[in-house]
């Protein structure tokens, strides 16, 4: 039995009358990559800020490394790395100076910071920009610098709040690759995201959050197995017949049917067989797609809404 690295019981955060996090329980172990998946406003960032010891919980228990985030904030934060949702780099300073300043916050001696900076700048592929000012750097480069900065204290837990929001696909893949390597190194990753592909790529285990509560918890595979079917048939009809067709589809045997504004999703064991049944009804979709279930489908099932809405 390993002791939990982070443990929350009935964790609650209220802002005035608004409850951002509503009594959540979770436990995290060393070496895990743990994700909070949910739409904007689900309470992911508030939870992260409480774990980061910069937001006192309103109610409930929270312990990090067995310590109390309110009383032992400095001791806990010394062992955390934080990649916030909004960039908080000093844009007036150079890439390297940002690492120096941040390393000094952790009381690291300059030679140690210099040596780590060399290594981290290589790791995030910013070595050739190290003496450039931060301001003109692209969003992707800033994100990578933020990740390098969060590692200057060699943290045991890395907290990432929507690490790739706002990045172009190529920049996202670079970030994912670096995070994956950190995980290989044994860094415990805790991340929030509203991208299901990010959660599937990076997380060993995740909780689905909605309106401040945890709707489900498990590995991506478990969640899909529990809340969705192996395959999904996506159908798109001419808008004029969309509703009519959606009704007729009730005749197709499917575990579940979701009628979205632009598509109809049929949750089935065998997508091709279902498509044949659709055609057998005389329906002629404009496009059809048979695909595997994803976390997006789990979320839709649990909340009735799509993640990125």
């Amino acid at each position: 039995m390993t002791t939990a690295l982070i443990r929350a019981r009935g964790l609650t955060k209220r802002f005035g009358s608004f409850t951002a996090v509503d009594g959540v329980d979770f436990e995290l172990h060393r070496g895990e990559a743990f994700g909070f998946l949910g739409p904007n406003g689900a309470g992911k960032s508030s939870t992260m800020r409480m774990i980061g010891c910069v937001s006192p919980p309103t109610e409930g228990e929270l312990s990090i490394f067995g310590l109390d985030p309110v009383a032992d904030g400095p001791a806990i934060r010394a062992r955390l790395g934080v990649v916030p949702q909004e960039d908080s780099l000093d844009v007036e300073l150079t890439v390297r100076e940002n690492l120096l300043v941040y390393g000094r916050y952790f009381g690291l001696p300059r030679p140690v910071i210099r040596e780590r900076s060399d290594r981290l700048l290589d790791f995030v592929q910013l070595a050739d920009r190290q003496n450039d000012r931060v301001e003109p750097l692209s969003g992707g480069l800033k994100r990578r610098l933020t990740i390098a900065r969060s590692l200057i204290n060699e943290p045991e837990i890395l907290l990432l709040d929507e690490p790739t929001t706002g990045l172009d696909p190529q920049a996202r893949h670079v970030v994912w690759d670096r995070l994956f390597r950190l995980k290989q190194q044994g860094v415990t990753l805790v991340l929030t995201t509203h991208y299901m592909d990010e959660a599937e790529q990076l997380c060993d285990r995740l909780v689905v959050m909605d309106a401040g509560r945890i709707a489900a918890e498990g590995s991506p595979r478990e969640l899909i197995g529990r809340y969705s079917t192996p395959e999904v048939l996506e159908l798109r009809f001419d808008p004029t017949v969309h509703e009519n067709a959606a009704e007729k589809l009730a005749a197709v045997p499917a575990q579940r049917r979701e009628v979205l504004a632009d598509r109809v999703l049929l949750y089935v064991e065998d997508g091709d067989a279902a498509l044949a049944a659709v055609r057998g009804l005389g329906l002629d979709p404009l496009t059809s797609l048979v695909r595997r279930s994803t976390l997006e489908d789990v979320f839709l099932r649990l909340t009735g809404r799509r993640l990125e809405d």
Binding site: T2, F15, D25, F26, E27, H29, R30, G31, E32, R49, G52, V54, S55, P56, G73, P74, A75, R77, A78, R79, L80, V82, P84, E86, D87, S88, L89, D90, V91, E92, L93, E97, L100, V101, Y102, R104, Y105, F106, G107, R116, R119, L120, D122, F123, L151, N153, E154, E156, R181, L182, K183, Q184, Q185, G186, V187, D204, R205, E217, G218, S219
Partner: protein
């Protein structure tokens, strides 16, 4: 809820993190050292701008003492200096300007740089994710402003001495008084700035705070020349206490009780500012 814990992955050589798994812990440090770390940040930041800052630190006293002390002072001195305490206008003005420019530095440091850190760059939010606490950021900045005030006030006194505007060796004690004056303003205004969400409210400090204080706190003429009903207001302003004590020291006429009164008043304002700032910083950064 409790999922099986995955086996800890052992560190691989050659990765970005050399020191895994974690054995060494940073030893507990005295709380003041956190503030010193934030001071180091501001010093790193200052390295970018120190040239321009040094130039204005030297140039401002030269310009003011030259234009007002010598230029305007020639006119004033012709009409008798009884109300100035029988000293030349230059000698009267120099200590007032010393305190007033300390206030100016303090207000400048406690508005836009602080607002930028919490709102534009969000470097304060980044800093509280390190072991530093909100109050450490506040104290670290006060230390930085204290250093800057010491430097600027020293330069001012040196320039004033070159203008032969300093007539007593006690003037050396005006240096800490000027620093204290500047810090009192810094602490109070900074405690307020950190609560602001729009930069437009900062302009109010200059328009309704800095400028009237600068003009009516005894810097350019004795407060006794003001209408009687307005004088008590002048006596309540921290700047008047800073100006009065700097002037008494520079003229060599300070008495112990009045020195205690003035310095005590400034210390109370500084203490109140620190008390308030500890709270407002925490409230803004721990949400």
């Amino acid at each position: 809820m409790a999922a099986p814990a995955p086996a800890p992955v052992s560190a691989q050589p050659g990765g970005p993190l050399a020191g895994l798994p974690w054995r060494t812990r940073p030893s507990p440090v005295p709380a003041w050292s956190y503030a010193v770390r934030q001071l180091q940040f501001w010093l790193t930041d200052y390295r970018r701008t120190w040239r321009g800052s040094i130039i204005s630190t030297v140039l401002n006293p030269l310009l003011y003492l030259g234009a007002m002390g010598l230029g305007l002072g020639t006119l004033v001195d012709k009409h008798g200096t009884a109300s100035l305490g029988q000293v030349s206008y230059l000698v009267f003005l120099a200590p007032g300007l010393l305190a007033a420019s300390a206030m100016g530095t303090g207000v400048g440091e406690s508005t836009y740089p602080v607002f930028g850190s919490v709102k534009w760059n969000k470097t304060y939010q980044a800093a509280v994710s390190s072991p530093l606490r909100p109050a450490d950021l506040f104290h670290g900045h006060l230390l930085f402003v204290g250093l800057k005030l010491t430097m600027a006030s020293s330069v001012f006194l040196a320039v004033a001495a070159a203008f032969q505007a300093i007539v007593s060796p006690w003037a050396i004690l005006a240096l800490p008084v000027a620093v204290l004056t500047g810090l009192a303003f810094t602490a109070v205004i900074e405690a307020w700035t950190v609560t602001r969400t729009k930069d437009t409210s900062l302009a109010v400090v200059y328009r309704f705070g800095l400028t009237p204080l600068f003009l009516f706190s005894g810097t350019f003429f004795p407060v006794t020349l003001l209408p009687g009903w307005i004088r008590p207001i002048a006596y309540l302003t921290p700047l008047w206490h800073g100006v009065a004590l700097c002037r008494d020291l520079c003229l060599g006429v300070a008495t112990l009780p009045s020195a205690f009164l003035h310095a005590g008043y400034l210390l109370v304002v500084l203490g109140a500012g620190i008390f308030a700032g500890n709270r407002t910083y925490t409230r803004r950064l721990y949400v």
